[in-house]
């Protein structure tokens, strides 16, 4: 693994802001997203979904639907193979293949309103929809559970009665799918030594990732068993792996072609439609296209978990944190696998605790299966812990940033989730926030300022990249990760830097599963970090090949050849004219053939990115409406390859977090039906709801990356909720422990105190 340092080396591209490589396609409408593919003779598929939160399926009668003119195939749960319980590792959230298969198409019973029960392919979209109405399903309605309190009550109805643990052993029947515990020391004993202990409980509601592009795919199964899928996802290899497993296909028979992705935020790290489209194509012998409606996206794809979190922190009167303990209950939805493990890992991660412990529970409820959402599990945990830290600062009368600085995690500190920290930039990020003019800017009546911190990991995982030199001297890079946050630009810039050539001479393409080695999903803020590392390694391998080729041309010992400024040069003989990429590549046929390299690896050395956000709000005491009037987000990016993209990630993550704090929530009626399954009632921020979010990049290089990169995509959604709520507290004097802080809730709280 390359650990080449860039210290002292002049950089031409890294840190600059060249034009985005996908810009023209995206502003002209030529970029092709998941729903933009078509094949001759294509059918349209639609899904019949459960109207009940919990019911046994007694019988499905598809005969009338099959008789409808234009209907070519129908699949129900009986048509998919039974899958044994087995942990999957290709996505982002913990996934069991058996459960994934049941979520894609119900077997025996349905677990939430919106759960897929049957799928139809027909000659037109309208005929397929009409056919859904002709499918008769006989349900036996079962009692349901909709929140962690009722799901963990002694007499709770069971969402599953055949749950197995991770080793495949059947568990005692309960709705607690998993329990985890982590930490160090003895918090319980340490609390008795504390001068101040704050102990509070918090609730958050399910929220949706809110990507604007609904899930969509096109699948074609040939008579020879070969399958091609065109779709938008956060990982073509994830789609291939899941689809092949669920349908009993060989991976080599399945090719997945990645479309441009219209937002994912973690929600496209799993499959919903693809296995159904393939099954329908296998049965009909024709390509099948499926596109979700917005209502289906809300009802049937992953929201982030609703949570109940209790946090207890004890400190000395001087402000030193002695002990922290947290209890986190996350709703998994109708299948196991919430983000509670990550919530438990991150909850105390920003601080140095001698005694820290978190207890997490993954709890089944009759709601859609939760899915990853940007820093999965961390924003809710940060809401709880950063509210408690705010309380401590008030009680101890210490500046909230000083209190955080006093206890901030730094190099060498034992993290609450296990390892000791390497070099991290949390202290520098806090200092930058404290020194910024925003922190001391005056406020008006009904206004308040909040500060909050948060962190997220940079996953390493498996990555591959191919780098090839073309005859004209341009360089092609193939990445196996969908570009969701600007990785085409960052990979191109790192390759240009390595080769010493113009950025415009590097073309990055996202390869299909047959054109590049395996890659784990685009997730965990890992692509610029991990796949970037593979691009750097492959580029370095190509450069050594270029030096060998030049040595052959010159007939000199390769040891005398080095690479600088985009050219091979002879070290000790300046009379020999250097050879550039084009010159070497044009003559490649005579020196050994095409020049390319592939780098693959399991990237280790997980990084961390920390953020600190300052938020000013103004509260309207008449209506309870909260306006964010100023917002500054500071984040350690390690080294920002393309600062504009880094700022974009910070601003976008902050906006999502502000929406989560102020307005967004899934609202269910008593029967378990989602009442706000559209953008009108599920209110995401629009331009007039937000101030200009100011992003400030801090650069404390990651020692595990050749350019010092830290993945930046996810950390920005972690601090906003507590930043908003702490600001609201400063403005009103009222503690808010339940999300969202929407006008009715704020008004009620204000009325209660007045």
């Amino acid at each position: 693994m390359s650990e080449k340092s860039t210290e002292g080396r002049p950089l031409k591209w890294v840190g600059t802001r060249p034009v985005r490589p996908d810009g023209v396609e995206k502003v002209t409408g030529r970029a092709r997203y998941g729903a933009d593919f078509a094949r001759p003779d294509m059918l349209w598929g639609h899904v019949l979904r459960s109207p009940h939160a919990h019911a046994r399926i007694r019988r499905i009668d598809v005969r009338r639907a099959l008789e409808l003119d234009g209907v070519k195939a129908i699949v129900t749960g009986d048509d998919l193979p039974e899958i044994a319980s087995e942990q999957a590792f290709v996505g982002e959230e913990p996934t069991d293949y058996r459960m994934l298969s049941q979520n894609v198409l119900a077997r025996g019973k349905v677990g939430y309103v919106g759960h897929a029960v049957a799928a139809v392919a027909a000659t037109t979209s309208a005929v397929a929809e009409e056919a859904l109405r002709l499918i008769e399903v006989d349900y036996e309605i079962l009692p349901h559970v909709l929140d962690v309190l009722s799901a963990t009550a002694d007499d709770a109805p069971l969402v599953h009665d055949d749950l197995c643990d991770r080793k495949g052993v059947k568990k005692n029947p309960s709705n607690i799918a998993n329990e985890i515990e982590m930490g160090h020391g003895d918090p319980e004993a340490a609390f008795t030594n504390a001068d101040v202990v704050v102990d509070r409980s918090f609730t958050t509601q399910a929220v949706h990732q809110g990507y604007i592009e609904p899930h969509a795919c096109l699948a074609e199964a040939g008579p020879d068993g070969q399958v091609t899928i065109w779709c938008s996802s956060q990982g073509q290899f994830m789609v291939r792996g899941y689809t092949a497993k669920l349908l009993g296909l060989d991976l080599a028979q399945v090719r997945v072609v990645p479309a441009e992705i219209g937002g994912g935020f973690g929600g496209k790290t799993t499959v919903y439609l693809e296995p159904l489209a393939v099954a329908l194509s296998q049965r009909s012998g024709r390509p099948v296209k499926m596109v979700m409606s917005r209502e289906e996206v809300f009802r049937a794809t992953g929201p982030a978990s609703a949570t109940r979190i209790r946090v207890k922190i004890g400190a000395t009167k001087e402000g030193q944190f002695l002990a922290g303990e947290a209890w986190l209950d996350y709703e998994a939805g109708a299948f196991p696998g919430s983000s509670v493990a990550a919530g438990s890992m991150t909850i105390f991660a920003p601080y140095a605790f001698e005694h820290a412990r978190s207890h997490g529970r993954d709890i089944l409820v009759n709601k859609p299966k939760s899915a990853a959402y940007r820093a999965p599990g961390a924003p809710m945990a940060a809401f709880a812990v950063e509210s408690v830290v705010d309380d401590l600062a008030r009680q101890l009368e210490i500046d909230p940033i000083d209190l955080r600085l006093q206890n901030a995690a730094r190099e060498g500190v034992q993290s609450s989730f296990g390892p000791r920290y390497k070099r991290i930039g949390f202290v520098e990020t806090l200092q930058a926030a404290q020194e910024h003019p925003h922190y001391d800017a005056p406020l008006q009546p009904n206004q308040g300022r909040g500060v909050a911190a948060g962190m997220w990991f940079n996953a390493g995982l498996q990555s591959s990249a191919a780098v090839m030199v073309n005859a004209d001297g341009s360089v092609s890079v193939i990445s196996g990760n969908p570009d969701i946050g600007g990785s085409r630009a960052s990979l191109a810039m790192m390759a240009a830097e390595e080769f010493g050539i113009e950025y415009e001479k590097v073309g990055v393409r996202i390869g299909d599963t047959a054109s590049v080695g395996y890659n784990d999903v685009t997730g965990g803020s890992r692509v610029t970090l991990a796949t970037g590392k593979m691009v750097v390694e492959a580029s370095q391998e190509v450069i050594s090949q270029l030096c060998e080729r030049a040595a052959k041309v010159w007939d000199v010992d390769v040891k005398r050849v080095h690479w600088a400024d985009g050219k091979a040069k002879v070290l000790d003989d300046e009379a020999i004219e250097p050879l550039g990429l084009a010159e070497i590549a044009t003559g490649a046929a005579r020196t050994g053939g095409p020049i390319q390299a592939i780098a693959s690896g399991s990237v280790r050395g997980v990084g961390m990115s920390f953020g600190v956000h300052l938020c000013d709000v103004e509260v309207d005491p008449e209506t309870g409406k909260v306006d964010v009037i100023r917002y500054t987000a500071f984040q350690d990016a390690g080294r920002a390859i393309h600062p504009s993209y880094v700022e974009g990630q910070i601003q976008g993550g902050a906006a999502q977090g502000i929406g989560w704090a102020l307005n967004e929530e899934y609202v269910f009626d008593d029967s378990g039906r989602l009442e706000n399954s559209g953008f009108l009632d599920y209110r995401m921020p629009v331009a007039s709801d937000l101030p200009m979010i100011d992003a400030v990049i801090i650069e404390v290089p990651n020692p595990d990356h050749p350019y010092g990169v830290r993945g930046v995509g996810e950390a920005p959604i972690v601090p906003p909720i507590p930043a908003v709520v702490n600001a609201l507290r400063a403005a009103t004097g009222v503690c808010f422990s339940d999300l969202p802080v929407s006008p009715p809730r704020v008004l009620e709280a204000l009325d209660a105190v007045s």
């Binding site: 034009v19 985005r20 996908d22 810009g23 023209v24 396609e25 995206k26 502003v27 002209t28 409408g29 030529r30 970029a31 092709r32 997203y33 729903a35 933009d36 078509a38 309208a126 990732q209 809110g210 990507y211 604007i212 592009e213 609904p214 441009e260 992705i261 219209g262 937002g263 935020f265 409606s293 917005r294 969701i484 946050g485 600007g486 504009s644 993209y645 700022e647 974009g648 601003q651 976008g652 993550g653 902050a654 906006a655 999502q656 559209g678 953008f679 009108l680 995401m684 921020p685 629009v686 331009a687 007039s688 709801d689 937000l690 200009m692 979010i693 992003a695």
Partner: protein, 164 residues
């Protein structure tokens, strides 16, 4: 279902087609004409990313039927560039990072085109009013606001003070 004949000018070219009365304008553009630059995000008129211009006015193509544009002219994102030359609004979105995933971009561009065609020097409130009609989930709108400022400057208007 019996088809109805429509005549419509799309991006400067006259089209005649027989369409089902229930066919939406968005589906007509995407499926019948292959103009997939108009994206569909919600199909209930909220997200604004399917915006197209009908006789110069921006409208949700998911809420219109193809038969409703009979005799009218429709402009989509595909009609903006002149050959290789991008429209100033397109250029501004690209240069100022007015997009990330790009899925909402055509809708934003079309509604801003309507605004700037009518008023090359809009006030900050007018701009925010128009932007507030569409949803972007990626950018937090900062890049989009910068893009509008740049487009206004490029098109000869004043400079709105959105960034001050």
């Amino acid at each position: 279902m019996a088809g109805r004949q429509i005549r419509v000018n799309i991006n400067g070219t006259d089209h005649q087609a027989i369409v089902e009365p229930r066919l939406s304008l968005a589906d007509f553009l995407r499926h019948e004409l292959g103009l997939t630059g108009t994206h569909i995000g919600c199909e209930h008129g909220v997200c604004g990313i399917c915006n197209v211009l009908i006789d110069g006015r921006s409208m949700r193509s998911c809420l219109l039927l193809a038969v409703q544009v009979d005799g009218r002219s429709v402009e989509t994102v595909e009609g903006l560039a002149e050959g290789e030359k991008l429209h100033p609004i397109q250029e501004a979105f690209m240069d100022e990072q007015g997009l990330q995933c790009g899925f909402c971009t055509p809708g934003f561009i079309m509604s801003l085109k309507e605004l700037l065609d009518r008023n090359p020097n809009p006030s900050e409130d007018e701009i925010k009013d128009v932007l507030g009609g569409s949803i972007c989930r990626c950018t937090g709108y900062a890049g989009i606001l910068r893009a509008v400022q740049s487009a206004v400057a490029k098109m000869g208007g004043g400079r709105p003070s959105l960034l001050d």
